[in-house]
């Protein structure tokens, strides 16, 4: 036994103690026998040879004991080494076999990526907007108090100063109540002048919120009185940005709207108020004392600027607070019947601050969350289906490996490796996608949604979604492998390759999946379609002016720097003339507020109408040439002219729709569209994947049909028809569901009815196209099948 004696036939993973014993016995027995043969060959009698062989071996039990100890140690090392080696082998094999079905791999990875990515991203957004905790002490006890004027319109307003005082002094439910007015202030003096978001606040604000300044002190009660000292509290951000975090900032004087204010405090990092002001740039950066003037305290119901935040007293519920506030409103209306008349039917409501901030975004985000969660389920179902199909298709291969001596563990391990590779790739792609989506939303999302700028990928959510995907992949990848290990290899070999159409039960399952996908795709398509349609309608509404070629210069004429109207008008004229003299400038107009960009609402009454019958209108104070500069056509009458001086009778130009209803601000709509689109991809990819795979599964059945004389075109048609039947059923169910969903989002729509026929027709057409495409490609292949090959295929 010399040349080429070493022929590896088996790879035996070292097993338990029993195997070790067995192998040791076998090895030693082989030795003894070989020795006997050798001695016999040298001429000894068999009996003598055996005795001699055993003698030469020495003490058998001793040897065994020692060898056993060594072997046990070896087994440990070998297990680790072999495990790694065969893992590498499994990995190589998996990559090779996956390369052979790139379509399926792409569908699985893409599906998982979209499912995981969308979920992690949306949860990141939702948690940033809905689940974040405001930086106040015990925020769940904080409430916002709003007034409403149901006769005039929807929406919530603040109060006038006298009403604020009533709520503050008469309530029995709040431990503290504070008022604030949002405003802009010009910071001038040292450094670059800038316009800052600020708030006039009552001295009770910071104690109501339960937040102490980081440096210095808050506003005192003395300063919150008419004629009180002018002081200012800075935000941490402004302190850092404008004063480089200088601790000596306390006591310094800032010029705000040309008035000197002394810095008395700096709020801690992360503090923000008002809570609603979303983008960082819109948040108040400084707070000055409210210090209502005696005139303000007399002007009941003439303004609605004072917003109110309060802390519920111990043991008081939200419902009790609402009751108490209603009582105060009733008292006010009884005491001032002359004011609360006509449509000025003031009411008041109390909302929890935490919920309040994102009230408007809540339904949208929750809908979204539901949609993506559903999407992830669909994704998992798709992956499950594809992996199951693949596992079943590989039962033949598995049986061959088992017959060649692969252990059940080895078979299962290979399936596990494959599932892990697929799920891992999907998860990695999903992670990238999630980051992309959140980035897009953070930078492009609607500014009105609070907290959006702080959205980020939540590690826990990501971990959860990846875990879910892995679980799906593992479960679906392993189930067929486990089943095949229990199966008798011979039987599996006999069955393999004789599977017609992939089994009746499995086909029914796949059919159900196709129906489900088509239905959900329909709902999403209709939803997205309605929202896109609304968005286009919003864009198509003529703004009433020609925005092209209009340049904008924003400046402030400060009341204190230009105390008299005359000096201001002189400066305005000088600026207008200099601008008009620039080459290429055709008209220069002045306005206080820009259409669609700024908001300035005033209440007005129509002459001849009931007393106290108020209406609201957007308005702007404009100069002579404003209409010409903005290309706003004049329908009737005249625009302003030189004769409209302050002393002349007041004039106004109104727009055509003023008499009609005021259209709602439909801002968020445009942003929603993106979602609708993206969600769609999942389902369409899934629909395509499942449909085409289910056709591929019928290869051998189709082979039989063609062998029996069916025409290729007949076979193709058969395939397309069965695909379409399933998709059609799904689309039908989807139409019904979409009608329900459409009604639910009716409030978000603009200029489109929830049952908009165009949207439905387009959605149905799109889905039918996808279904035809998904079944036609494999159907064509089926039509070209060589019947003999198809029969053998599997």
């Amino acid at each position: 036994m010399t040349e080429r004696p070493f022929r590896r036939a088996f790879r035996l993973a070292p097993g338990g103690r029993r195997r070790l014993e067995r192998e040791l016995a076998e090895e030693l027995a082989f030795h003894i026998e070989a020795r006997i043969e050798q001695l016999v060959a040298r001429g000894l009698a068999p009996d003598e040879a055996r005795t001699e062989a055993l003698r030469r071996f020495g003490s058998l039990p001793d040897a065994r004991r020692q060898i056993r100890a060594s072997a046990a140690r070896t087994a440990h090392h070998v297990r680790a080494r072999e495990g790694l080696g065969s893992l590498r082998r499994d990995l190589r094999h998996t990559l090779r076999s996956l390369r052979r079905s790139p379509g399926m791999v792409a569908v699985i990875v893409l599906t998982l990526a979209i499912g995981i990515g969308a979920n992690a991203a949306v949860f990141g957004l939702v948690s940033a907007v809905l689940l974040r905790t405001p930086p106040y002490a015990n925020p769940s006890r904080l409430v916002m108090l709003w007034q409403r004027l149901p006769e005039i319109g929807e929406g919530r307003f603040g109060a006038s100063p006298p009403e604020y005082v009533d709520y503050r002094d008469r309530n029995r439910v709040f431990s503290e109540l504070a008022g604030y007015i949002n405003l802009d202030l010009d910071l001038t003096g040292e450094g670059t002048p800038e316009r800052l978001q600020a708030a006039r606040v009552t001295h009770t604000l910071f104690s109501t919120l339960g937040v102490k300044p980081f440096l210095g002190r808050a506003i005192s009660a003395e300063e919150d009185r008419p004629g009180g000292a002018k002081v200012v509290v800075l935000s941490y951000g402004l302190w850092q940005r404008r004063f480089g975090g200088d601790a000596n900032v306390l006591g310094r004087t800032l010029r705000l709207d040309e008035q000197p204010y002394t810095v008395v405090g700096v709020m801690p990092r992360g503090f923000q108020f008002p809570w609603q002001g979303t983008p960082v740039s819109d948040r108040a950066e400084l707070w000055i004392p409210m210090a209502f003037t005696p005139a303000e305290l007399q002007a009941r119901a003439e303004s609605y600027d004072v917003c109110m935040v309060a802390r519920l007293a111990r043991g008081v519920t939200l419902a009790q607070a609402r009751q108490d506030i209603s009582r105060i409103v009733r008292e006010m209306r009884r005491e001032h019947p002359d004011i609360y008349t006509g449509n000025l039917q003031t009411q008041a409501t109390v909302e929890a601050l935490v919920a309040d901030a994102s009230e408007s975004a809540r339904p949208l985000l929750l809908t979204l969350l539901g949609a993506v969660a559903f999407g992830l389920l669909i994704a998992c179902a798709n992956v499950a289906n594809l992996l199951l199909t693949r596992g079943v298709a590989r039962q033949h291969e598995t049986a061959v490996r088992r017959a060649l001596g692969a252990s059940a563990g080895q078979v299962v391990r290979r399936a596990l490796v494959e599932a892990l590779v697929l799920a891992g790739s999907g998860a990695a792609a999903g992670l990238a996608l999630a980051y992309g989506i959140v980035w897009i939303f953070r930078s492009l999302g609607p500014a009105q949604i609070p907290g959006l700028t702080q959205a980020h990928i939540d590690a826990r959510v990501l971990a959860f979604t990846v875990f879910l995907a892995l679980l799906t992949a593992l479960f679906c990848g392993l189930a067929p492998a486990l089943k095949s290990t229990r199966q008798d290899a011979q039987q599996a070999l006999k069955q393999g390759g004789r599977q017609m159409g992939g089994g009746r039960e499995r086909q029914r399952l796949r059919g159900a999946l196709v129906v489900l996908e088509a239905a959900s795709a329909m709902v999403l398509l209709v939803g997205a379609g309605l929202l896109i349609h609304s968005f286009i309608r919003v864009l198509l509404v003529p703004p009433g002016f020609a925005p092209h070629g209009v340049a904008l210069v924003r400046t402030t004429f400060d009341r204190n720097r230009y105390p008299s109207d005359t000096t201001r008008r002189v400066a305005e004229h000088a600026i207008i003339e200099r601008l008009a003299a620039l080459p290429g400038v055709t008209a220069v107009g002045l306005t206080t507020h820009l259409p669609l960009a700024d908001e300035r609402r005033i209440g007005f009454r129509v002459q001849g109408g009931a007393p106290n019958e108020y209406h609201w209108a957007q308005n702007a104070l404009v100069g002579d040439d404003y209409f010409r500069a903005m290309h706003i056509p004049l329908r009737r009458g005249r625009t302003f002219s030189a004769q409209d001086t302050p002393d002349a009778p007041a004039t106004a130009v109104i727009n055509e729709t003023m008499a009609r209803t005021y259209w709602a601000n439909a801002d968020p709509v445009g942003r929603v569209v993106i979602w609708g689109d993206r969600k769609l991809t999942i389902v369409v990819v899934g629909l395509y994947g499942v449909l085409s795979y289910s056709v591929a599964q019928r290869t051998s059945e189709l082979g039989v049909r063609m062998a029996l004389g069916a025409q290729p075109s007949t076979v193709s048609w058969l395939v397309v028809r069965s695909g379409l039947r399933l998709a059609g059923l799904g689309i039908g169910i989807g139409v019904v569901a979409a009608a329900g969903a459409g009604a639910a989002i009716a409030r978000l729509l603009f200029g489109v009815v929830p049952l908009d026929p165009v949207t439905y027709v387009v959605a149905v057409a799109a889905l039918i196209s996808v279904s035809v495409l998904a079944s036609y490609a494999p159907a064509r292949r089926a039509g070209r099948l060589d019947p003999a090959l198809a029969l053998r295929a599997e």
Binding site: F6, E23, F30, R56, S70, A71
Partner: protein
């Protein structure tokens, strides 16, 4: 057959490694190889040999795998690992130096200085 010499302690490992440095062998092949090479002058206890290979396997100097002999019998084959080859080189050199030194001392004539 000359009277076999008992094995000096510690040399068996070296001899087995040397045998395996030629090619992978099963246990009986190793004993046969040693008997051939020594002309039957070394007394290698068979059980000691198996203890040695298993011990070296545990230390990672050799690696075992089941294979088929020419006569289609299953046997456990051993081959050198990289560590085993390195061990053979260094321990072999040490053994040679040791043997030369001892030889030099005990073969020196009286009065002669040791080399």
């Amino acid at each position: 057959m000359p009277t076999p010499l008992p094995l000096v302690k510690g040399t068996l490992d070296l001899l087995v490694l040397k045998a395996l440095s030629w090619r992978p062998m099963h246990g009986f092949e190793i004993t046969s190889w040693l008997e051939d090479r020594s002309g039957g002058r070394l007394d290698v206890d068979d059980s000691a040999l198996y203890q040695a290979v298993h011990r070296m396997e545990a230390r990672g100097l050799v690696q075992a795998e089941w294979g088929i002999t020419e006569n289609n019998r299953r046997a456990r084959y051993y081959r050198l690992t990289t560590a085993g080859r390195a061990h053979l080189r260094s321990e072999g050199a040490r053994w040679v130096r040791y043997a030369e030194t001892v030889t030099g001392i005990i073969t020196a004539r009286a009065g002669e200085a040791p080399a």
